[in-house]
């Protein structure tokens, strides 16, 4: 700084200029630029990926080898049954992290900087949500990779297997507006975690993730049958193993649309009020 140059570099944006040429798709481009910011942050803190890498591995190994024999008679049969469930459970709990991160992030200076810039107010939030898609893809890849090592096999074809993974990623993307909303409403990152686990845990256990739904008591069936995770697991199972899809994919998509329709506006409104 001892050699401060006289002329500050300028590039001519200012009060006198008219409205800057309104380039199209501003929200999309800004959100993508901000999604890249999330990716860089993820890349720099690999330990933040434990929930989407180590967790599916541990769950698969523990459940398959501990319960496989008792639940399904053989560990291989149970692995075939369980893997789509673990994929869905991990991807759903993986969506909690965005709420935790945003709750920490928003108190820091960077969000005020964004707000003082001429960009859409929702772009930083949309960017963070989009950036997490990478985490959900990692869940799919890790779960399938460890599954294959343990003996899991896709019974359909590559096209349907990829479709199953994409459906799960889409589900997590839409579901993540719920933790985003919660993160705007509670005070600490720990509280986000607590609230979200209280919501996700019953959803993932009172479902067809670990056992076939028809083994559950009747009163619980009523809940299980509308549980969005049940529909997603049945869809992924069908796409991976060829079991009947029925209307599960449509129900899953309906739930996805529902999450976005309800929690995205709520989250954006809470965000505008909070900051």
């Amino acid at each position: 700084m001892s050699t401060v140059i006289d002329a500050a570099p300028t590039s001519g944006r200012g009060l006198t200029s008219s409205v800057p040429n309104p380039r199209p798709f501003r929200l999309v481009r800004h959100s993508l630029a901000l999604a890249k910011r999330s990716l860089i942050k993820t890349w720099r803190t690999p330990e933040a990926l434990i929930d989407v890498t180590l967790q599916p591995v541990l769950f698969l190994i523990i459940f398959v080898y501990v319960f496989g024999g008792a639940v399904a008679g053989s560990t291989h049969d149970y692995l075939q049954f369980l893997l789509p469930g673990i994929l869905v459970q991990t991807i759903a709990t993986g969506a909690i992290a965005i709420g935790v991160n945003l709750n920490t992030d928003i108190a820091k200076g960077i969000f005020d900087r964004f707000r003082s810039m001429p960009i859409p107010r929702s772009a930083p939030l949309l960017g963070a949500v989009l950036g997490d898609v990478v985490r959900y893809v990692i869940v799919s890849v890790t779960t399938l990779a460890i599954g294959y090592l343990m003996g899991f096999r896709i019974d359909t074809d590559l096209f349907r297997a990829v479709a199953g993974c994409l459906l799960a990623v889409l589900f997590a993307l839409c579901l993540s507006w719920l933790p985003v909303y919660v993160s705007m409403k509670v005070r600490t990152p720990g509280a986000v975690q607590g609230v979200m686990f209280a919501l996700i845990m019953p959803l993932s256990f009172a479902s067809n993730v670990f056992v076939a739904a028809d083994t559950l008591p009747g009163w619980m069936r009523a809940f299980v049958d509308v549980n969005p995770m049940t529909h997603l697991v049945a869809s992924v199972r069908g796409l991976f193993l060829g079991t009947p899809l029925n209307s599960h994919v449509w129900w899953t998509l309906a739930w996805c649309a529902g999450f976005v329709a309800v929690f995205m506006p709520l989250a954006l409104r809470a965000y505008r009020r909070k900051i």
Partner: protein, 326 residues
């Protein structure tokens, strides 16, 4: 509205719960000038800056930047301002370069333009060597420079600097002052908040003093110094036995007041003449008095406030608003 006022605020009021942070603040900054907003913690400085930079909506009063209302035309205002403060900062996980390129992209400079602008600013702020390190590894001075660089990416006409040097050591503070001076040479209009009269005096064309959410004085630095008293010359003779003779000399070079022993072994006298320092050195030499300390001081914020309000800035009372810098 006066044509060349770039920043104008009239009667700004902001209340947080039961805390009245601003109770009718007027500010005016002509194009190309620097306004120093001087006040203690909790005076309302940060609240005022947050309103002017569209981060907060005032409960009362109006503010315009370049003629655009900060509430109704917030988007236009955001196109012409740069904000630097401890709250408006950078992403600590990103490198200096990544931060600046991100802001450039968001400001529609285009990919190549954002890259070029980032390189330019990194170079200008002497951060090129640290450009590829995450911002959280930067020292305090580097962080302030990066924060300031981040607010300049869009070449804003109006720059808000909220306590830009608080916590910096004196050398780093001088560096920051040089940066501010060169911004002004380039035609920027700057609103700077500070707790130091010295800083406002060094940089500002006009100073607005605020306290408890109200403007208590507005003047040029010279005008303000005339009111609150000019500089103080402080001397510590090497031998305490020389204190009486030192006091005699100081009283003679001073602007009329009697030299006082302000701390043990240190004498002080108010001075107005720029030659007082050199003159006193010559007189000490002639008198054969060795001195171990000799310095000129502007009045501290406490002294300014005592003169303006009859109580010290740190005096507290129940109506005192706390500054909200969320």
């Amino acid at each position: 509205m006066t044509a060349d006022l770039v920043i104008e605020a009239e009667g700004l009021v902001k209340t947080f719960g039961r805390t009245r942070a601003l109770r009718g603040v007027d500010l005016a900054v002509p194009r190309g000038s620097v306004l120093g907003v001087l006040g203690p913690n909790g005076a309302g400085k940060t609240t005022a800056v947050r309103i002017l930079s569209t981060l907060l909506t005032p409960d009362g009063g109006t503010a315009r930047i370049g003629g655009f209302d900060v509430v109704r035309d917030a988007e236009r205002v955001r196109q012409s301002i740069g904000l630097t403060g401890q709250y408006a900062s950078v992403d600590e996980d990103l490198t200096g370069r990544q931060n600046l390129e991100l802001f450039g992209t968001l400001l529609e400079l285009g990919r190549a333009g954002a890259r070029r602008r980032a390189a330019e600013l990194l170079d200008w702020f002497d951060l090129t060597d640290a450009a590829n390190r995450p911002a959280k590894t930067y020292s305090g001075g580097m962080r302030r420079r990066l924060d300031l660089a981040a607010s300049l990416v869009g070449s804003p006409d109006v720059i808000f600097l909220d306590e830009p040097t608080t916590g910096l050591d004196p050398a780093k503070r001088e560096d920051m002052w040089d940066v501010v001076r060169s911004l002004v040479r380039n035609g920027s209009t700057v609103l700077l908040t500070t707790q130091y009269l010295e800083e406002a005096d060094a940089l500002a064309d006009a100073i607005t003093v605020i306290d408890h959410g109200r403007v208590i004085a507005h003047d040029t630095p010279d005008g303000l110094k005339r009111v609150v008293g000019g500089q103080t010359l402080e001397v510590r003779p090497a031998d305490p036995a020389h204190l009486p003779r030192t006091a005699e000399i100081l009283t003679r070079v001073g602007s009329g007041g009697q030299a006082d022993e302000i701390r043990k072994g240190v004498l002080a006298v108010p001075v107005t003449d720029d030659t007082a320092l050199t003159e006193s050195v010559a007189r000490f030499a002639t008198a054969g008095i060795a001195v171990t300390e000799l310095s000129l001081h502007l009045p501290s914020l406490d002294e300014v406030f005592f003169t303006l309000t009859g109580r010290t800035a740190s005096d507290d009372d129940t109506t005192r608003p706390t500054e909200v810098a969320a």
